[in-house]
């Protein structure tokens, strides 16, 4: 309930005009009892004394028909308002959550959590939406129908009304009790379907391996087992669902027995008329469907609530790296130097990764950070760009501590080129325009030329209008990096942070990347997380990070003379390099 109130505050669309909608809902459910009421009227009045009073019957029927039409119109209006309100609210919630995910720090956006975050704004909201369109509206109208029918029954005969309710109560309770079992059965179906999709996926994604090792038979067996397990669990769940569904029918039969037996006895005593008795039989039918489908609807309501809670969970995650906004201090103009003072970093509930870094990087220098994987190089780069905040100490750019720099200033002046050079599924030009809005195709082409990539671009069929495909997969890994470099170039940053790719790139592209990097970093401050020592050789300054500390710094030549960790890294690399000719 508290969740619902919270949602109302987050997305006011949900509750907009709810009073009118509820009023319409009341009118719409009143329509459900028109038929029993008219039957009562016709039997008790229109046909009184064994004669048909046709005029009266006509009036009663026409009145009933008018009521049915009015309630149908109300129902149409209620549905339209309800769908508009819920879908608008959900759309708003989707966008809020989407934005919030982008505002979370890198800590929360790590690869292994991304799938989960995506489902928060997709399948979880979809679950709620589907619930609203089917079971949600059913629950609204079904409960209204039950209430209205019950009231009418009490008006006709309270004794009989109690008996009818009594015949449905145990079945209602039973189906509620069975609901967790049903829910578990559906959960099992989902799990089996997931496994089956995995097995089928292997036959597609792993096709070359399966073929090369001639293991088709074994693969087929695994798929068959998963397909069969899915079929069996689906059938088991269906059996349970049918069992629950029958509650309504059985209740109706019991209620009809009561109505006939007790109704006749009451009628003989003069407490119940023929019309009312028959009307009871019609009212009983109004209970069948709600009671039958209640368990399913409640099950879906629970799923929807759980999905809702997951969405709220994301919104409740605080944006730990906050934007000071207007109140902050923009970065000073010109190339930026960087300073680390007593910087420590540990992931939540993880060991400390950086143990007190003190460091000053001069403007316009090209810095290479080298060291073993896990030593803290990448963490250093993330702190420098405020993708995360240190657990202790301060990082400053151009003399301004990072937490005081408005994001608008920071993101404009400091640009990161990530390892995988992530591209969006659009054209090269549009991807480059991520670095600077409103850039023309000609300016994009000029950027490529400035990076020495004019020839490469010219070799593409559609030039800057070439589509890069999903995640840029129409281009090779190295070509994606070229586009990422152009994107960084048009952003014209004063500090450039590069995470060098580790994956193998074909050598011609590798050479292009190297020359583009050279052009890109010229005249700017740059910090490169280097995986190849050749990058360190070309840098103005090299930082060697090991065990969470900067253990050496200086030029390549100085460090080579010094030996130490750098000497060891270099020797290993050199041995490999000269292994052949």
């Amino acid at each position: 309930m508290r969740a619902f109130r919270r949602i109302g505050r987050l997305a006011p669309q949900f509750t907009e005009g709810i009073r009118v909608t509820l009023l319409l809902a009341l009118l719409a459910t009143l329509g459900r009892i028109v038929v029993p009421v008219v039957i009562e009227a016709v039997l008790d009045h229109g046909l009184r004394g064994g004669h048909a009073h046709l005029g009266e019957i006509r009036d009663e029927v026409l009145l009933g028909a008018a009521a049915i039409l009015l309630t149908a119109v109300s129902a149409v209006a209620m549905n339209a308002r309800l769908f508009r309100a819920t879908e608008s609210g959900l759309a708003h919630l989707r966008v809020l959550t989407f934005r919030h995910v982008h505002d979370l720090s890198m800590l929360h956006q790590q690869a292994e959590r991304r799938g989960g975050l995506t489902s928060r704004v997709t399948s979880d909201v979809d679950t709620v939406s589907v619930f609203m369109q089917f079971s949600g509206i059913f629950l609204v109208t079904a409960s209204g129908q039950l209430v209205v029918a019950t009231i009418l029954m009490f008006v006709y005969s309270w004794q009989l009304a109690l008996l009818v309710l009594l015949s449905f109560v145990p079945l209602g309770v039973m189906s509620r009790r069975l609901q967790p079992t049903l829910s578990a059965a559906y959960g099992e179906v989902r799990r089996r379907v997931g496994e089956m999709l995995g097995a089928i996926g292997e036959s597609v994604v792993g096709a070359p391996t399966i073929r090369a090792y001639a293991v088709e038979g074994r693969t087929a067996e695994r798929i068959d087992a998963a397909v069969e397990a899915t079929r069996r669990t689906q059938y088991d769940a269906q059996r349970l669902a049918v069992g629950v569904y029958l509650g309504g029918e059985s209740g109706a039969a019991l209620a009809n027995c009561f109505v006939v037996v007790v109704g006749v006895l009451l009628g003989i005593g003069g407490h119940l008329s023929l019309g009312r008795l028959v009307a009871f039989l019609f009212l009983v039918t109004l209970f069948v469907n709600p009671v039958s489908v209640m368990a399913d609807a409640l099950n879906e309501a629970q799923n929807a609530l759980a999905a809702f809670a997951r969405v709220l969970d994301v919104l409740d995650t605080p944006t730990d790296v906050a934007d000071p906004g207007e109140a902050g201090t923009p970065l000073p103009p010109g190339p930026l130097g960087a300073r680390f003072e007593g910087v420590r970093f540990a992931y939540p509930s993880g060991p400390e990764i950086l143990h007190g870094i003190d460091l000053e990087l001069a403007p316009r220098t090209r810095v290479a950070v080298v060291g073993e994987t896990g030593g803290g190089k990448t963490t250093l780069a993330k702190l420098l760009t405020r993708l995360m905040d240190p657990s202790a100490g301060t990082v400053s750019l151009g003399g301004v501590p990072l937490p005081a720099v408005p994001f608008s200033s920071l993101r404009q002046r400091v640009v990161v080129v990530p390892q995988d050079g992530f591209l969006f599924d659009t054209t090269i030009a549009d991807n480059v325009a991520y670095g600077r809005d409103g850039i023309t195709d000609e300016e994009v082409a000029a950027a490529f030329r400035a990076l020495g990539l004019g020839r490469w671009l010219a070799g593409l069929a559609d030039g800057v209008r070439t589509r890069v495909g999903e995640r840029g997969e129409a281009l090779s890994v190295g070509e994606r990096q070229l586009v990422a470099l152009a994107r960084a170039y048009v952003a014209d940053p004063d500090l450039l942070v590069l995470d060098e790719a580790t994956s193998a790139v074909d050598p011609a592209t590798e050479a292009r990347i190297a020359s583009a990097l050279e052009a890109l970093t010229r005249g700017r401050t740059s910090v490169t997380v280097a995986h190849r020592l050749s990058t360190a050789e070309a840098a103005d300054e090299v930082l060697v990070v090991e065990g969470g500390e900067v253990v050496q710094r200086g030029t390549h030549a100085e460090l080579l003379a010094e030996g130490g960790t750098y000497g060891r890294l270099h020797a290993a690399w050199d041995a490999q390099r000269t292994a052949v000719g």
């Binding site: 029927v61 982008h102 975050l117 089928i200 036959s203 391996t209 269906q238 049918v242 990058t535 292994a579």
Partner: protein
């Protein structure tokens, strides 16, 4: 697709379902008939009770216990039989639907396992997964309503005939109401399916944007693109919202209409019947209309699913009727442990409808020798490795293993002697052991020996549960280098006589790669073909092939090629070139 075409083809799909599952269809349709029959019976029972028990009792202020007991017993009996009908209908339909899904999933995946790799290569993974999953599901989705609707159609005719025998005016009301419900349902289905299709499409697009945007979160964040990404997401979310509201509005309009029609029918029965038929008949027919309102809708549900079903069926049939296949001979090779000899003569290869990838390839791999293949991206290296293990057949020329053409060898015979380790490693959702043996009967000692040779024993020993650790989606995740070493062990455990490594150690540390290659050299007699970039890898080869533009441009020692081809030199030294100063 014109509408009648869809219905005709939908009828064909339904006919197939009956042909394949006649027993389950009989159960379900029989259940539906019983259910419908009992609805008619219930209305007769209530009519009779009204006429013979209630009316006289209320008029004479007297009744007999026997009359009441018989009434109750008949009501319960009718309900009991009806419940049996529901069981048969719903369980039968569920069993039929799930059995058909399972059967077609097996058939589709069987085709995947036998269709040639060139067929696989020409189709996106997502499409193949959909064929086996959602297309099969969509094809058989109408089965949930099909037996129900067939039973109801029969009952409807029976009811109309019965009404005709009772009273012509009442039959006329029936003739108006029943077809009206079916027709409105049909319109509903026709209007609904494009709207649902559109909302599903938009849902996929919204999900696509969320996936992409979160995958590229680093780029979005570091370029300060949160606002524009949110705007991009919001635009599509709003389209989805409008589409869902449109779906809701349609449902919200038709549902009240479908509810109003039978109710108006009941009123019409009262109007027309009063004075013409007795009270009992009036109650009976009115009750019948109320009870039939729900089953009549099944026809609408069936019609609603037909377009999707037909689409799914067409896509599934495309896979099932695909005739391409790979023919196998019956020859086998003499079992031996010595290295195999592989020769290729004038081999050409082109993917369907594309320019040739390989032209006039001549190869002679002598037993026990190691040959390296070097070439630029797109030179055809991976295609060549695929040909050697017969993932594809050459367009012209021949490839022989120990003097036997690969095409003459029996199914599985190539895999007995040749092992490929591909560039893209594939890890099955299985244990470490299962991933190495792929179900072959091999001892743990043999598995460990292969892991040792692939330098994978170290990390496997450190994983919890060792050989029994689950890998893949729901298991331990491995790094790229670990995956490659596991794939290598998978090849080595088979003691292949020809080992084909397609850039199979690209993600492995250079020092470890060196150790692996040295180990291979010392401990196996296998003939080896290795696609490589790194000098260290090439250094181990007895001969190097320089593949350029789909042809073997030159062959010789590393030093020879280095001297003769600037292109070759550029490639093999790219990794060793420091970034230009």
């Amino acid at each position: 697709m014109d509408e009648t075409g869809v219905l005709r083809r939908g009828a064909h799909v339904l006919a197939v379902s009956v042909r394949e599952q006649p027993r389950l269809y009989a159960y379900a349709a029989g259940g539906s008939l019983v259910y419908g029959g009992m609805i008619v019976a219930q209305s007769y029972v209530l009519g009779a009770i009204t006429g013979h028990v209630i009316t006289p009792a209320l008029r004479q202020h007297h009744t007999s216990a026997a009359a009441l007991l018989i009434s109750a017993a008949v009501i319960l009996a009718a309900a009991g039989v009806k419940v049996t009908g529901i069981f048969g209908r719903r369980l039968g339909a569920g069993a039929m639907q799930y059995a058909l899904q399972a059967s077609y999933r097996r058939r589709v995946t069987r085709r995947y396992l036998t269709l040639p790799m060139s067929w696989h290569a020409a189709r996106p993974t997502g499409e193949l997964l959909n064929n086996a999953n959602s297309d099969v599901e969509a094809t058989w989705y109408p089965i949930a309503a099909f037996p129900f609707a067939s039973g109801v159609a029969v009952i409807m005719v029976v009811v109309l005939v019965a009404l005709l025998l009772t009273s012509l005016p009442l039959a006329l009301v029936g003739c108006l109401v029943f077809p009206a419900v079916v027709a409105v349902n049909a319109f509903y289905a026709r209007d609904m399916s494009p709207k649902v299709g559109r909302s599903q499409q938009l849902r996929a697009e919204v999900s696509g944007i969320a996936h992409e945007s979160f995958d590229g979160a680093l780029v979005v964040k570091t370029l300060g693109r949160e606002d524009s990404e949110t705007a991009r997401f919001e635009a599509r979310v709003n389209e989805l919202r409008d589409a869902l509201v449109a779906v809701g509005r349609l449902r919200g309009t038709f549902d009240p209409l479908l509810e109003a029609i039978p109710n108006l029918g009941v009123l019409a029965v009262l109007l027309v019947g009063a004075g013409r038929v007795d009270t009992a008949t009036l109650v009976q027919v009115a009750y019948l209309f109320v009870l039939l309102a729900f089953p009549l809708r099944s026809i609408g549900w069936l019609l609603a699913e037909v377009p999707r079903s037909v689409n799914g069926w067409d896509r599934v049939q495309e896979v099932l009727t695909e005739t391409a296949g790979m023919a196998y001979g019956s020859a086998t090779l003499v079992p031996t442990t010595a290295g195999a000899r592989l020769t290729a003569r004038g081999v050409d290869f082109a993917y369907d409808g594309h320019a040739p990838v390989l032209r006039g390839i001549d190869l002679d791999l002598q037993p026990g020798r190691t040959v390296a293949v070097v070439g630029t991206t797109g030179a055809g290296k991976s295609t060549l490795t695929g040909l050697l293990v017969r993932l594809v057949d050459p367009g012209a020329g021949s490839i022989e293993l120990d003097g036997t053409d690969l095409r003459e060898l029996a199914r599985g015979a190539v895999a007995d002697h040749v092992a490929l380790v591909a560039q893209q490693t594939f890890v099955f959702d299985d244990t470490v052991r299962g991933n190495v043996t792929l179900g072959a009967d091999l001892s743990d000692d043999a598995v460990w020996a292969a892991l040792r040779l692939a330098r994978a024993d170290g990390f496997v020993a450190r994983i919890e549960h060792g050989l029994d650790a689950m890998l893949g989606e729901r298991g331990t995740t491995l790094s790229g280098g670990q995956r490659q070493r596991l794939a290598l062990a998978r090849a080595l455990v088979r003691t292949p006589r020809l080992l084909v490594l397609d850039d199979a150690t690209s993600a492995v540390d250079t020092a470890v790669e060196r150790a692996i290659l040295d180990g291979l050299r010392e401990e196996t007699d296998a003939t080896t073909l290795v696609v490589a970039y790194r000098k260290a890898t090439i250094a181990l080869a007895d001969e190097v092939l320089w593949l350029d533009g789909g042809r073997i441009a030159d062959r010789g020692s590393h030093a020879d090629l280095l001297a003769r081809h600037p292109g070759y030199a550029a490639i093999v030294s790219a990794y060793d070139t420091p970034a230009a100063p």
